[in-house]
């Protein structure tokens, strides 16, 4: 009988346009949309940054060799135009009004200091909110500095290698999969959890409050089917809807990389392909199942008690925030699954998924997280059962 109720409710749910939108259409499209917006925005930023001619205000009383060498910096380091200023006050004013983007102050005694082989104090004026401008000035000055260093070594007849005690090289021992998992891995579970929750929401309201509102529950309760079987049949559809929303989300990721080719960077592409392995998918579902049963279990008592669709929605929607906020913990690098975080619902699943993506899973912690969620899911089912058994809640 549970399956009979489940079959009917699933058919009914799949014919509801609003639910199909939340369960299939939006979860499938969200990742490709985010990716294509992100790619086109980042591409246009890169292009704009490369093509942008930066106006550099130059405060100096003479055209010395530093000014002359700055003018000779190749265009490969970015297009530029130098504008002379007589004082720093007017330079700061110009930076604030964005008529120049960055300023360089060269002291009057620069030539003497250069001749005496002493360091010149050059000041870079920049607006911290105008990203990338300080780096542009740094790049130009570093270019000139490197050339001058070479000239000085030649003048002093010094072999550069002899005054270089060591050269540093960096080797990253973390795989690109680990890098993505630890630094950006919180984003994926966040999506799955958010859509899992939203996927459950409309079916839960429709199958419980909706039945009350449409007065169909009364006839259903006069059939010789125990209430717990009706509850389980309906709950099955709510849970399946949440899992389907997460599945279509996963499908959206697959479409983004395999069909739409939205990820261009070969390293990131390979890392995402490594992440989306069958083992990852099985583990992800194992973690999502108790979480989504828990979601269904907290939504159903609210939906059973609510007198109208609007009332149920007004209670469940803010609940969304309570779920989304802990899920955002995964965004912070450095927050990891440990004996404490494994006990915090939602947070534990986000962090376990993050570790799973990075491939740095500790099984005893995953077992703890899974156990906590299973326990909460059981409590939520019992609560749903109590509410659904109460005739005052079911009949309006």
């Amino acid at each position: 009988m549970i399956f009979t109720v489940f079959k009917k409710e699933l058919r009914d749910t799949l014919r509801d346009r609003r639910t199909v939108m939340m369960m299939i259409v939006i979860p499938t499209l969200v990742f490709p949309l985010i990716m294509s917006v992100f790619m086109s925005v980042s591409e246009s930023f890169q292009k704009e940054a490369a093509e942008k001619k930066v106006k550099i205000g130059l405060v100096s009383n003479q055209v010395g060799s530093l000014e002359a060498d700055l003018l000779k910096v190749p265009e490969a380091l970015g297009k530029k135009q130098f504008i002379p200023f007589t004082d720093t006050i007017s330079l700061i004013k110009a930076i604030r009004s964005d008529s120049v983007q960055v300023g360089i102050y060269v002291p009057n005694n620069a030539e003497q200091l250069k001749s005496a082989m002493k360091p010149i104090s050059v000041t870079v004026f920049h607006d911290g909110t105008d990203l990338g401008m300080k780096e542009r000035a740094d790049a130009y000055l570093s270019y000139v500095q490197e050339n001058w260093k070479k000239q000085r070594y030649a003048q002093l007849k010094i072999n550069e290698a002899e005054v270089t005690p060591f050269v540093m090289a960096y080797s990253n021992v973390a795989s690109s999969k680990e890098m993505i998992g630890k630094l950006a891995g919180g984003f994926l579970p966040y999506l799955f959890i958010a859509f899992g929750f939203m996927g459950c929401m409309f079916p839960a309201i429709d199958l419980f409050t909706g039945e009350k509102e449409r007065s169909t529950i009364e006839t259903l309760l006069t059939t010789p089917v125990p209430r717990w079987k009706i509850l389980f049949g309906k709950m099955g559809v709510v849970v399946l809807s949440g899992l389907l929303a997460a599945t279509f989300n996963l499908l959206g990721i697959y479409l983004s990389i395999e069909v739409l080719n939205l990820v261009k960077d070969p390293v990131i592409l390979q890392a995402i392909k490594d992440i989306l392995s069958p083992t990852f998918i099985i583990m992800l579902y194992a973690l999502l199942c108790p979480l989504i049963i828990f979601f269904a279990g907290i939504m159903i008592p609210i939906a059973v008690r609510a007198k109208s669709f609007k009332e149920a929605q007004s209670i469940i929607s803010p609940l969304n925030l309570l779920i989304i906020l802990p899920a955002m913990v995964g965004f912070f690098p450095g927050v990891e699954l440990n004996e404490v975080t494994a006990l915090i619902p939602v947070v534990n699943i986000v962090l376990a998924t993050k570790e799973l993506i990075a491939g740095t899973l500790e099984w005893h912690l995953v077992a703890m997280a899974f156990g906590v969620m299973v326990l909460l899911a059981v409590i939520a089912i019992m609560l749903s059962y109590r509410k659904f058994e109460n005739e005052n809640n079911v009949i309006s």
């Binding site: 009979t4 009917k8 009914d12 509801d16 449409r214 006069t222 059939t223 089917v225």
Partner: protein, 258 residues
């Protein structure tokens, strides 16, 4: 057959309900120690003004509500102790009940047939018979949400009768329906009676009661005011018509209470 003895139902009030009713009591007694019997092959009218406890009584009979006290026997099955078994014998039709708008009549009837444990063959056989009787073939595959009120009512009748219940409960089945659609219900009640089923019928329309019913129970404020055959009711009648007589009985009770 339905046998009701000393049946009572009280509801616990929450804070908001207490405020709405203007009471400090924690519970309200909707049905207060009522007893009556409905016999097979007869139509039993359950009458009472709004808030008398009719719907609560019918909901207890159909096992949606559990009585606070008393017993209900449906075809000799204790509906309080074994509600699931009792439900197999009951068909419940209310005027206010909705239907699943996104299903077709075929899907809905098959669903309820399965819930009542009717075999697939029997569902098909009974469905055909009911579709012939109610002229439902033309819209059997259309979504219920797109059907007219009359068509929907026919679907409701079909849903109520798919498991061939021996006891049929009608709670204001014709309320809000046009004359032609209401006639379908009246005909169904007559058919049930002719087939020897036990029918209990709640209505506000005294014309329907006069036309259909063999026995009558009037309840008011949860208590039985009158319980006898329609014949006896007509014989003791003091007012010029049945509606006036019903009002007189209810008013007499009010005066006695005062």
């Amino acid at each position: 057959m339905i046998q009701i003895e000393h049946l009572s139902k009280s509801f616990t009030l929450n804070r908001q309900q207490k405020k709405e009713l203007g009471t400090t009591q924690n519970s309200v007694l909707a049905v207060d120690d009522i007893s009556f019997e409905c016999l097979p092959g007869r139509v039993h009218a359950l009458l009472g003004p709004n808030g008398a406890g009719k719907t609560t009584t019918l909901r207890m009979l159909s096992t949606i509500f559990k009585p606070t006290k008393g017993t209900i026997l449906i075809d000799n099955i204790d509906a309080v102790k074994d509600p699931q078994e009792a439900r197999k014998h009951i068909g419940f039709l209310t005027g206010s009940a909705g239907l699943y708008a996104r299903l077709t009549p075929n899907e809905l009837i098959a669903y309820f047939g399965e819930l009542y444990g009717v075999s697939k063959n029997d569902i098909e056989m009974r469905k055909k018979k009911l579709y012939d009787l109610l002229d439902m073939h033309d819209f059997q595959n259309k979504r219920i949400g797109k059907l007219s009120t009359g068509m929907k009512q026919k679907v409701s009748i079909c849903r109520t009768m798919i498991h061939d219940p021996q006891v049929v409960i009608f709670d204001e089945p014709t309320s809000g329906l046009d004359v032609i659609t209401a006639e379908n219900i009246i005909q169904l009640i007559r058919d049930c009676k002719n087939q020897g089923k036990t029918v209990i019928f709640s209505s506000h329309i005294m014309g329907e009661v006069d036309l259909l019913c063999d026995d009558i129970t009037i309840i008011h404020k949860g208590k039985v005011l009158y319980n006898d055959t329609m014949e006896a009711f007509r014989a003791q009648q003091q007012a010029p018509n049945l509606t006036a007589e019903f009002i007189r009985i209810v008013n007499d009770q009010k005066t006695e209470t005062l």
